[in-house]
């Protein structure tokens, strides 16, 4: 089968999914005020500015058009079908996107590959600044969702949820957390007052969560002062970050953040320092210089802050993937996770949309991956027969094509 036919095959599978599941796909709240957008399979074009009066019309479109990706606006508009300037912005949900692209993960992204546009040299991980062979600086990247990447994004999502509940006072009822279907999580906030905030105000929310422009002195951290572990807001977060960093860090890692003479003192007095943080006032030994201390404070802020995509949250016209629809790059579905359940949530199992059938295909190249309870690959120019979900995953990634049946 050639490329076109593979695409048609994927769309056929998506059509089956939408035929069977459209009843469980709920349009967002305030349906009539939302703009919808659909990425079309064949044309690779975005069908935008669509509006719907009711859920049934929406579901009918899903079943007849069968798009590769389904989006809706975080914004609420008076007239969602009009051109951008004439839509009449009424407000927008507050949205957060956590994506493995924005996080350095323990796997080192070894599953990702790059190709130099100039000489064709290939490599693993995030592409280098310059091609080692021809010094070219243009690359094509292929990214994979892996378990470690997804674990990292899950941790970030949990941290974000903690910020939003404890610091921002949002209730779990106002928030939904969802696995995006690819490499990360979305957190969606629907709150009447927050909805009206403009970009400038949202930027401030982002800065709070990412720790941009944060000055430790405003949170009780100065030369000889520090806040305590149980304090609220960033005061307690920095303290906790310092405590954890002091507790878990090796001499080697201390040196990495630029500490020199203080390292031996920190290691030898570690227990005493930690004890003081737990029981009394935080204590800094005189033998640890204030410059070293500042570096530890900075590290604490870095560790406590959340890696979110800053652009998504500040954009008040953003399009967001709709829950329970399929991701065109994986064939997995975007799926809601209850915050209390997130630890147990397994994206590579729970987001599987296709549970039946097998498909024969030729895989060009794919690293080892897991889907459901099975591991697959790695593959290189191989014919294989795989369960539909795994096959679609590779097809959507462009790593395989469907094998013609004889």
């Amino acid at each position: 089968m050639n490329k076109i036919e593979t695409k048609a095959f994927v769309q056929e599978k998506f059509a089956e999914y939408y035929k069977l599941n459209s009843a469980s796909i709920d349009p967002p709240s305030s349906l009539v005020n939302r703009e919808f957008a659909f990425l079309l399979f064949k044309e690779r074009m975005m069908l935008r500015h669509k509006g719907f009066e009711n859920a049934e019309d929406f579901r009918t479109l899903l079943k007849t058009v069968v798009p590769s990706d389904v989006y809706y606006s975080s914004a609420h508009y008076e007239k969602p079908e009009e051109e951008m300037e004439a839509k009449g912005w009424l407000g927008a949900d507050l949205v957060f996107d956590i994506d493995a692209d924005h996080i350095s993960t323990p796997c080192g992204k070894q599953h990702d590959t790059w190709v130099c546009n100039n000489c064709g040299e290939t490599g693993r991980g995030t592409h280098p600044e310059k091609c080692p062979k021809c010094k070219g600086q243009k690359f094509d990247d292929k990214s994979w969702p892996c378990e470690k990447c997804l674990e990292s994004t899950k941790r970030e999502a949990t941290k974000l949820f903690d910020f939003l509940t404890k610091d921002f006072g949002l209730s779990p009822q106002e928030m939904t957390v969802a696995f995006s279907g690819h490499r990360g999580y979305h957190v969606h906030v629907e709150n009447e007052v927050v909805q009206t905030l403009d970009q400038v105000a949202r930027k401030e929310i982002v800065d709070y969560i990412v720790g941009v422009g944060l000055e430790p002195k405003f949170h009780g951290f100065e030369e000889d002062r520090a806040s305590t572990l149980e304090e609220a807001g960033w005061r307690g977060r920095i303290a906790t970050g310092m405590y954890e960093f002091l507790r878990n860090t090796s001499a080697e890692q201390f040196k990495k953040i630029g500490l020199k003479k203080s390292v031996t003192n920190l290691i030898s007095q570690r227990d005493k320092i930690l004890e003081s943080w737990k029981s009394r006032r935080p204590w800094r030994p005189d033998s640890v210089g204030s410059e070293s201390w500042k570096k530890i404070v900075q590290k604490a802020i870095e560790n406590q802050s959340v890696r979110i995509d800053t652009v998504v949250t500040t954009d008040i016209h953003r399009l967001i993937r709709l829950t329970n629809t399929l991701h065109g790059k994986t064939g997995l579905k975007k799926i809601q996770v209850s915050a209390s359940d997130i630890e147990r949530f397994d994206p590579l199992k729970d987001a599987v949309a296709f549970k039946e059938g097998r498909v024969s295909l030729v895989v060009f190249e794919a690293p080892e991956f897991r889907l459901g309870d099975e591991r697959y690959g790695s593959y290189r120019n191989m014919k294989v027969e795989l369960p539909t979900a795994a096959a679609l995953f590779l097809l959507c990634k462009g790593a395989a094509q469907v094998q013609e049946e004889h």
Binding site: Q137, K138, F168, L197, E204, I205, D207, Y208, V210, T314
Partner: protein
């Protein structure tokens, strides 16, 4: 809900924008058409003084001893400023009124501040809260804090530098007054943008006089001209980095591309030359790039010419590569450029003195 606080008539004179003042003014039955009446003269005079002082000294003049005059002069002043149809006068007047309010609030009780704030639907409560060496007087729901603090340019107003717990930002009395100043300023600016129907002759004369006063006061406006020639040496670090990446064909984030394009356009570079900068990108598409560059240059669709984001925003999105010595004095990449051009020009014009 707590018990409703009674606001006295002198409170209404101080805070004439609150709904109760509006009701009171209605009860006085001052009609626009009657403004020509001689017995309403004191109100008109006070209204004019409010605006005049705003123009001259950013204040609103000495309040009238008669509360009725003081209260009614506010809506009349608003009407006069709206009739001036001059955005500079509007901004100046709104700011002067807001500052007046803020100063007065600093001396009010917590209860009264809460009463004024709730007029703007603020979710605020008086508290006594000590943390470290700090004492806070109010807890304010964060969206109301953001709406007013996000435009104040000082690090202590950044949400990231505040104590926030369960959605409440802790603030002092002075800070509450300062935030209310922003709220009042916006509120009055909104009032000034209404369409005013014909005013009586004697009122219009006063409006014309105020407009003349403003023009005299403002004098010659000095606009900083950006020279035709684009001076790459005067670019700020962020733009230099972005341009280098673009020329090398490295990937640039969406914000980065927008920043670079809008900066170059505003520095006077032609659309053609801006497009050339992006030619090395691996996903370069001339038609798309042209469309986007022309859009940013104001040649398409909305017809707005865009300017690059502020330094602060560039930091949020990780576009800022770190400041150089000139960055600490500016908040916008274009300001950096204008200043640097100026110093470069001065340096070039200063004759070198031979060393003795």
């Amino acid at each position: 809900m707590e018990k409703k606080l009674f606001l006295t008539r002198s409170d209404l004179a101080k805070y004439p924008f609150i709904p109760e003042a509006g009701k009171y003014i209605e009860s006085l039955e001052v009609k626009i058409d009657e403004l020509a009446n001689a017995d309403l003269e004191p109100i008109l005079t006070r209204a004019e003084a409010r605006v005049e002082d705003a123009i001259l000294s950013n204040t609103t003049g000495k309040p009238s001893h008669q509360d009725d005059v003081e209260i009614s002069s506010f809506p009349i002043a608003v009407m006069m400023v709206a009739a001036s149809a001059n955005s500079h006068i509007k901004r100046r007047y709104a700011l002067a009124e807001a500052k007046r309010v803020s100063t007065l609030l600093e001396d009010e009780t917590e209860e009264k501040i809460v009463a004024v704030a709730r007029n703007f639907n603020w979710d605020i409560k008086a508290v006594k809260f000590n943390v470290g060496s700090l004492t806070f007087d109010f807890a304010l729901y964060f969206p109301y804090f953001l709406r007013n603090a996000a435009n104040i340019q000082d690090e202590k107003w950044k949400l990231a530098n505040r104590l926030m717990l369960k959605g409440e930002v802790y603030i002092t009395k002075n800070e509450a007054s300062r935030l209310l100043q922003e709220e009042v300023r916006r509120y009055i600016e909104g009032k000034l943008n209404i369409e005013v129907r014909a005013l009586p002759q004697n009122v219009m004369e006063r409006v014309e006089r105020l407009k003349r006063l403003f023009t005299e006061m403002r004098g010659k406006i000095q606009t900083e001209e950006i020279p035709k020639e684009v001076m790459i040496d005067a670019f700020p670090p962020c733009i230099r980095e972005l341009r280098k990446s673009a020329l090398a064909g490295r990937h640039i984030s969406h914000v980065g591309r927008f920043t670079l394009t809008s900066f170059l356009i505003n520095s006077g570079m032609t659309v053609e030359n801006v497009i050339e900068c992006f030619r090395s990108a691996s996903d370069f598409n001339e038609r798309m790039t042209r469309y986007q560059v022309e859009h940013i240059a104001g040649g398409r669709g909305s017809r707005t010419k865009y300017i690059p984001p502020k330094c602060d925003t560039l930091r949020t999105h990780g576009v800022c590569p770190g400041m150089d010595e000139n960055c600490s004095r500016i908040r916008h990449p274009l300001t950096y450029y204008k200043r640097k051009l100026r110093t470069m020009k001065t340096a070039a014009e200063t004759p070198t003195v031979p060393r003795e």
